[in-house]
Symmetry: C2
Subunit: 196 residues, 2 copies
């Protein structure tokens, strides 16, 4: 029995490719044909392995959440000053966003297409945002314990502010490449962290 | 000569209805049939008056930008403390976002569908964001002149931070109704303004 070449595809690589398509265009605008082309597989393989477009999207979101949280956690728990690590992370995110053709955050890109209409997808999105908030809050709490933040600062609320600001910057970066607005927003955020 | 009933429609009202559909679902997910139904007009009237879906969207965006900037300008130039006006605006935005079924900001909802691929649309979006930034910066400059902000504060960068934070909050409100994350982000933003 002969097998079509697409039966032996690497599911991890295919998922990564699907993630990139959804990230760039959002859920609605990502066509099945574009997804299949980018993943290098046929329709049958897609359905056998990932289910329909919606369940593929859910798996791609989970994959994105997993690798992003793992990366953020590693960077923020690196040796040295927690506040310096945090500022560096914000600068690096800004650097990625400022590149021409940047897609911002995969979650931000896709939130608009979903709201809470699909409960499974909204749950993954909320879980991701909650984890990101928790990692940021833990870092700010360590910064406060080391005297880098004043005792009056509220690490949890500051983490929530950073989460919203970072999402807003990622979103705006989609229509503003290399823009003074985003540079200024970053400078003000770093300044707020330095004086909190 | 008899005219179909939809020839006498109010273009302003129809545009408002189109705006609501795009705002709720984003450009891609807004179907022509849903737009026509909501606007209460036929396909021919749509094309005669607004052109195709894309030019209708452009007109709806311009309409949204116009009424939003007018509203923000009026609120921020009201008598009394500029900083108090600004804090109240942020709280009111948060209140609107926190309502169940909130759509956040029409621009944020639609940025993900466009990037800079359509130059005419990107231009309206950038113009709107720039105007919003300018109004916020002018308010913060007045606050500084009245001693409500420290002389070290940078009103322009602070305005840019507020712009990104507000967009991020509006975006996240689409999947988080009545959420402590958004309440906390607002509290931290107000606190930053009080201590800048």
């Amino acid at each position: 029995m002969t097998r079509g070449p697409d039966k032996q595809f690497d599911t991890e690589v295919a998922l990564e490719k699907a993630m990139e398509v959804f990230w760039a265009h959002g859920y609605e605008a990502s066509s099945l044909s574009e997804l299949l082309k980018s993943m290098g597989i046929g329709k049958k393989s897609l359905y056998d392995t990932f289910g329909n477009k919606q369940s593929l999207f859910l798996k791609a979101l989970e994959h994105y959440a997993h690798i992003t949280i793992r990366d953020v956690r590693a960077r923020l728990s690196a040796e040295g000053s927690p506040l310096a690590n945090l500022k560096q992370l914000l600068k690096d995110w800004h650097g990625v966003n400022s590149r021409s053709g940047s897609c911002g955050c995969m979650f931000g890109t896709n939130i608009a297409d979903f709201n809470t209409e699909d409960e499974a997808i909204a749950k993954v999105m909320r879980g991701y945002l909650q984890q990101l908030e928790d990692v940021l809050a833990a870092t700010l709490t360590r910064a406060q314990a080391q005297g880098e933040l004043s005792v009056e600062a509220n690490p949890r609320d500051l983490a929530r502010l950073l989460l919203c600001t970072a999402q807003g910057m990622a979103l705006l970066s989609r229509i503003m490449d290399d823009d003074p607005t985003l540079d200024g927003a970053l400078a003000a955020t770093v300044s707020v962290l330095s004086h909190s």
